[in-house]
Symmetry: C2
Amino acid sequence: MNATIKDVAKAAGVSVATVSRVLNNSATVSSTATEQVNNAIKELGYSPNFLGRNLRRCETNVILAIVPSTEQTFYSEIIRGMQNSAAEHGYDILLSTSNSNYTLEMHLLNMLFNRTADAAILLGTQLDAKALMEFNEKCFIALCCERAEGADVLTVSVDDEGGAYAAVEYLIKCGHKKIGMISTNGAAASSLDREKGYKQALSDNGIPFREEYIYKGTYDFSHGALGFDYFRGLPSPPDAIFCVSDILAASVVKKALSEGYKVGEDISVCGFDNILLSGMYTPGITTVEQPCYDIGRTVVKELIYNINNNSKTNKKIKLPYKLIERETVKKLV
Amino acid sequence: MNATIKDVAKAAGVSVATVSRVLNNSATVSSTATEQVNNAIKELGYSPNFLGRNLRRCETNVILAIVPSTEQTFYSEIIRGMQNSAAEHGYDILLSTSNSNYTLEMHLLNMLFNRTADAAILLGTQLDAKALMEFNEKCFIALCCERAEGADVLTVSVDDEGGAYAAVEYLIKCGHKKIGMISTNGAAASSLDREKGYKQALSDNGIPFREEYIYKGTYDFSHGALGFDYFRGLPSPPDAIFCVSDILAASVVKKALSEGYKVGEDISVCGFDNILLSGMYTPGITTVEQPCYDIGRTVVKELIYNINNNSKTNKKIKLPYKLIERETVKKLV
DNA sequence: GTGAAAGCGCTAACAC
DNA sequence: GTGTTAGCGCTTTCAC
């Protein structure tokens, strides 16, 4: 079987303690001993068993990132940010998908209790504030991208309200007055925050809010088209639509195109996220960019701070958005 | 701190052995003892420490899936397939991204040696056949989606050659004769196999292969447009283009559209993968679907078979593709 | 049906 | 600068 630290010690003619010391640079070891140990390691093809090490140290240096699925391409940059930040602190990020399934998410979170991971980052969760707070008491967790209303847990996300405000203000500045919004009817705090930004921008610009100008569906692609159909059925349909995600925006664009509309001319649409799709689409979709890489870096940095200081700062961090102008918004002025 | 098996034993008034037995259903325990133990577990909020268990058992029941990045949405279904299959066998799938970086990939593979995971699945790798074979001797690994030329390692992928053949034959059946291909110039075996299918379909249908009808770039979005430009510069440009990926196909479509072409009319294009984008695009992109879910299920099933039987079957499994007709291919006949 | 005890591989006092 | 050794939490053999 695999060589153990004992085998290395024997081969190097030293004690296991010395081997451990060179393995971890934990104390001064004579250069001769160091060399002997390193030779033995090489010879035996030794690799330390982390199960033993982790058991002893009561830590794994693994952070579990739980995503609903990897279908959202914008997670990709977030994860890269997480990894880079983690690597700087000697941690690894391991990902797992919950498929938005409560039982599966609980199973994954249970990895914190069974010591498979030191901490977990939730990118969207099925748990309510109460359950999250309970976890937060016993474990190190963080929310990423999606805050949970009433949950006092470390959270890093884009400034959802500000981003939506900027998008709608941009639409208004472009001369649009009849602005609809496609949102979601679940409990997603990001959607709620974006609705807030939408309303605020309207009101700050003297445009009355109309209840019928807000369509609520799901995040599913089909709901963009559905929203578009709904708006068309209105006596006075909006001529610009702000969507809570780029997927939804793409759906609106596709539907409008298929109905013979010229998007960016007859109808304007703006998304949120700036996923790759938005730049690839024809016409290019105007949207609000999330600082994904920074979000990933930040959440890991803060989480590791908490781990190292055995603290629970529970900060709520909102990172800046960026408006990306492309071709789906008509400039009337 | 966290309760241990000892605490449970004490609280239940039994030995740790008995607790372990009820935890693992490993031997008959009297119903009274079982009840006492379960009560103690609940009371103490006990969760077994897997580091201890895994160390003792010399296994983790974790399979590491190493992906270049989660940017490719079609990994999403593959991972779902992996997870479902893994769960059936009591395993968890943990994901990690290598960013196509050799050092990072080696770091992740090293988790096999340090016993963080029992096996690894590589979805695209930077390692060459020799390195893969070496790993395969000492560890349980599998390749997924992308075979490695000359590597005798368990591999599960779509039938790349057949899929490409089907796509090109479809183009031919639609009346196209001047068919270009956008491929990649790296060592990606899937691209090579798809080129083979392209050539075979041509030759089987009496269409001579033209060297200048094959453009090789990278997987990067920009290379679709680059390929399109290249083809346009030819004295006799192709009127149909088969792309090695949907991303590349989308790029061709976008570029053609921006140049005033009517895609599916003036020019035909067919992709590969059937990622979500292809259905969302306008026009919908005709493509070859990979059986992602099945690929994921199959690779995990075979890998766990190997683990359980301590065998290395090294099967090469090719799963069937499916042609998805949408709107980017003109039917001339 | 149950308990005592060895030991998985490692780290870190502690002693020298 | 180095070695001895206890013990992290668990499973499992062996006795009873």
